[in-house]
Amino acid sequence: MIDRAFIGRSFPPLHVDVESGQLRAFARATGQRDPIYWDEDAAKAAGYRAVPAPLTFLFTLDQEREDRFYFINAMGIELGHVLHGEQAFTYGVPICAGDRVTLTCTCMDIYDKKGGAMEFVILKTQATNQLGEDLGGMTGTIVVRDPK
């Protein structure tokens, strides 16, 4: 059982730079064909101040922590038993190459189903840029299955 004392707890804020090479690698890895996602001229022609981060990229920025599995380790969860249940994003000012983003992650809830055979962890992350502008946020549901 995951310690319910984690509910309401926030993890230390993460400051991360959005790099154009990282955005290009993401576009390539996902088969993105729209040039605004790797070419600065195309992005500017489309009205962005630089190459925009794609819709799901906040999730990737959150992986830039020294310990990529920070909450899984902190909660004592077995990594091989983790499944991604749900993911939701809301959007504010677009995230672009060159931004410095601050992410704040809070554990919103932990509960179980099927008599504890599955546990659910809800994590909410809010993001702002170097100007203090609201970039929106994301909420993820992590499912921990008991293989027994």
């Binding site: 996902t30 990529r68 749900e86």
Partner: protein, 140 residues
């Protein structure tokens, strides 16, 4: 110039309209390795078959966020990214290696403020639903 023309307007869409479908290339083990690196999701269950088997899975499988990236392509091929206000999905079932993922969507509601609600879905080549999601876009 972007080759992705975005000329969708609030007045021009109706409830029931379909978005143009977007289909991925087959998801190979290389796809998963590259996505692990590019997305920062280094969970070995997606790239290391030894780890996957030790965790009780028959093989590695695709990152849920890879499928969600494909759903994102569906949205941004239809409207500019800045039009997207909300985007969410449930990861309904595991996407296997070699899957070809097709993303589809339809307009389910038009709301005040030029907002349009969508239901979106990613399915494999057998028609099995992998991701089932929603989005809200704001149109001119």
């Amino acid at each position: 110039m972007s080759t992705f023309a975005h000329d969708v307007t609030f007045a021009g869409v109706d409830v029931g309209d379909s978005l143009p479908a977007v289909t991925s290339k087959p998801i190979s083990r290389t796809t998963l390795a590259l996505f692990a690196g590019a997305s920062g999701d280094h969970n070995p269950i997606h790239i290391d078959i030894d780890f996957a088997k030790a965790a009780g899975m028959p093989d590695v499988f695709a990152h849920g966020m890879l499928g969600m990236a494909y759903l994102g392509h569906l949205l941004t091929a239809w409207v500019p990214q800045r039009a997207v206000r909300e985007f969410s999905t449930r990861f309904v079932s595991i996407t296997q290696v070699h899957a070809v993922v097709t993303c589809t969507g339809r307009v389910v509601e038009k709301r005040e403020g030029n907002l349009v609600a969508l239901e979106i879905e990613a399915s494999d080549q057998n028609g099995d639903v992998k991701l089932a999601g929603k989005a809200v876009v704001e149109l001119p």
